[in-house]
């Protein structure tokens, strides 16, 4: 059974049908790209999976459990982690404290109050900062990081939750080509323990790191398959050449 099964998910905002009967399967350990023209429903779908809003109809099943109406908190506990599109790091806390906050989220209230895991988690927090090239900035405020660095911090925080499925909404937005390349390299090692859904405009980036692609257009799934199949798909070609 797939890690995430999306069946017939629809979502309407007033009169706009943002999602219209979307079916997607995401297998464990795969990187799944969501592409499509602006307004095709990519971010709406990602938010419905993360619980930022609920689908009107259809079901979302994660690890065999129906999470269609679960709160963000319940989804996070189940192993879903979302990296926001607009960077949502906590600007007035240090880079280190941002990651510590994510890392310690599994601790009980009593342990948090007694600060009993502050030392034990140091290795994990420092490890993540090291991996995402932020260790030298650990004591700086998150607000002082460059845009690209904030994106990495966001990804580090999302991974600190040890998710089984990570949702990335435009992880390379506002990055230089060099930073995009580094981001791809930073994401590769997580495949061993975590599946990924990425919404991204940069098709080169998507092609380089994704195994499977889903193309959305006007809230519907236009085509689905591995990267080569999608690149050959006539339907997709048409949408992307006529409308983009």
């Amino acid at each position: 059974m797939a890690l995430l099964q999306i069946r017939g998910v629809s979502k309407t905002f007033r009169t706009l049908r943002a999602l219209d009967g979307v079916d997607i399967d995401v297998e464990a350990g795969t990187f799944h790209g969501l592409i499509g023209p602006n307004g095709s429903g990519k971010s709406t779908l990602l938010k419905a999976i993360a619980g930022a809003h609920f689908a009107d109809t259809g079901t979302i099943v994660f690890e065999g459990r129906d999470i269609t109406r679960a709160t963000p908190y319940e989804r996070a506990r189940a192993g879903l982690s979302l990296k926001f599109q607009i960077t949502a790091v906590l600007p007035e806390l240090s880079v280190y404290d941002n990651v510590l906050l994510a890392t310690q989220s599994g601790e009980s209230l009593a342990r948090l109050l007694l600060s009993s895991s502050r030392r034990a988690l140091d290795g994990e927090v420092s490890g993540l900062l090291e991996r995402f090239r932020l260790i030298d900035r650990a004591d700086d405020l998150a607000a002082e990081l460059s845009h690209g660095e904030q994106q990495w911090l966001e990804i580090a925080m999302a991974l600190a939750l040890k998710p089984k499925l990570l949702l990335l909404d435009e992880p390379t937005g506002g990055m230089s080509p060099e930073e995009r390349h580094v981001t791809g390299k930073l994401l590769e090692p997580i495949k061993a323990h975590c599946a990924l859904i990425i919404v991204e405009h940069d098709l080169h980036f998507i092609r380089d790191i994704c195994d499977q692609l889903t193309v959305l257009d006007q809230g519907k799934v236009l085509d689905q398959g591995d990267v080569e199949a999608i690149q050959r798909s006539a339907k997709v070609q048409q949408v992307f050449t006529t409308r983009v």
Binding site: A50, T71, P72, Y73, A76, R77, S81, L82, F84, T87, A88, V89, L90, P91, E92, L93, S94, Y96, D97, L100, L101, A102, Q104, S105, G106, E107, L109, R111, L112, L113, L114, S115, S117, R118, D122, V125, S126, A138, D139, D140, L141, A143, E144, M157, L161
Partner: protein, 355 residues
């Protein structure tokens, strides 16, 4: 905008404005421990220096007791971003509770009534939190502010018309607080009792602020929604701190009732609730010691101003203007001038370089 310690703080302006303060922020010095040390020395010296003036010792005791109310509000707003306009409710109800226990059961032993007052504050605030905070959808700041304000207002009206609790006259000649055979009257002994309890509560609040739980609260103040996506039950944390704040207010209310020998409807109404907000904003919210300094400033100023013949008639106006000026032009309070944003907000892990 009252203070930027609150939850509405936008990320975007902070990024551009604070970015430039970076170099200075990294090497920030801790100022709060020094302020706390000075405050403690002053608090210990007061009864010695003023031993001849019982009226001033009484004033100082009052400051200590009302500081509990101010800390209670700081736990809500400064630490957790809960705008409570009803802290006096827990203060007043606990004050009435121990006054009634003294009157009807003739019991006023310290080891029994003070924990009782704390329990009353804790449970009542817990009940409020369950209503205001623990709904399926997270409440807005305004909703909580209005909810607590209404609670405070309704309680004041209720006791004003309730004969059993003295109606508009309140309860006077509250039975003196006892410890074994010793009775606490106004004076140095009561002062040191209040100081000891304040220190205990302060130490507890400080411990909470600096713990990993304090980090969660600091994160909540900046972006509540983000914290939910980390898997934190944000509203539960708020409800917990709100209940603890109610407990602290309850202790303050009991001490107030014993110290004044009186508790009335005004001690649980919006008037005192907003005074608590002022204590906190004036001193500097989120710093814990700030609210204590704010309380001392307001109470001492009121005392001095009301004693000057020339302005006896309109001193509240002057006090009001002073407070308005401070809140408008120094939204981080008196301590905001000494304490860096970074120290106020808190740094939790790894500050090896720079600091």
């Amino acid at each position: 905008m009252l203070t930027d310690a609150g939850p509405g703080l936008g990320a975007a302006p902070a990024r551009t404005r604070m970015g430039r303060q970076a170099g200075r922020a990294r090497a920030f010095r801790r100022v709060l421990p020094w302020v706390e040390a000075v405050a403690l020395i002053v608090a210990l010296a007061v009864p010695v220096v003023l031993s001849e003036r019982t009226d001033l010792v009484t004033l100082a005791t009052n400051v200590l007791i009302l500081s509990l109310l101010a800390i209670s509000f700081d736990l809500c707003w400064g630490l957790s971003g809960i705008m409570s306009f009803g802290q006096a409710l827990f203060f007043g109800v606990a004050g009435y509770a121990i006054a009634l226990v003294g009157r009807d059961l003739e019991f006023s032993q310290l080891w029994g009534t003070l924990p009782l007052a704390m329990l009353v504050g804790l449970l009542l605030a817990g009940l409020f939190a369950a209503f205001l905070l623990l709904g399926r959808k997270p409440p807005t700041t305004i909703f909580v502010a209005l909810g607590t304000l209404t609670g405070s207002y309704a309680a004041e009206r209720l006791v004003s018309g309730w004969q059993y609790v003295g109606a508009g006259n309140g309860l006077s000649s509250v039975k003196l607080l006892q410890f074994g055979g010793y009775e606490f009257v106004e004076g140095t002994a009561f002062y040191f009792l209040a100081l000891a309890l304040l220190l205990l509560i302060y130490a507890g609040a400080r411990f909470l602020k600096q713990s990993q739980l304090g980090l969660v609260l600091a994160g909540m103040r900046q972006n509540e929604e983000r914290l939910a996506f980390f898997g934190y039950r944000v509203q539960l944390f708020k409800a917990l701190v709100f209940s603890l704040a109610g407990m602290v207010a309850g202790l303050g209310g009991a001490l107030y009732s014993y110290h004044q020998g009186f508790i009335g409807p005004g001690n649980m109404g919006p008037g005192l609730s907003t005074t608590a907000v002022l204590y906190c904003l004036l001193g500097g919210s989120g710093t814990l010691i700030g609210p204590v300094i704010g309380t001392a400033t307001v109470e001492v100023l009121s005392y001095v101003l009301s004693d000057i013949d020339a302005i006896k008639q309109f001193w509240p106006v002057i006090l009001g203007l002073v407070l308005l000026t401070v809140v408008m032009f120094q939204p981080k309070g008196i301590l905001g001038m000494l304490v860096s944003d970074r120290e106020r907000i808190g740094a939790y892990g790894r500050r090896r370089r720079g600091g």
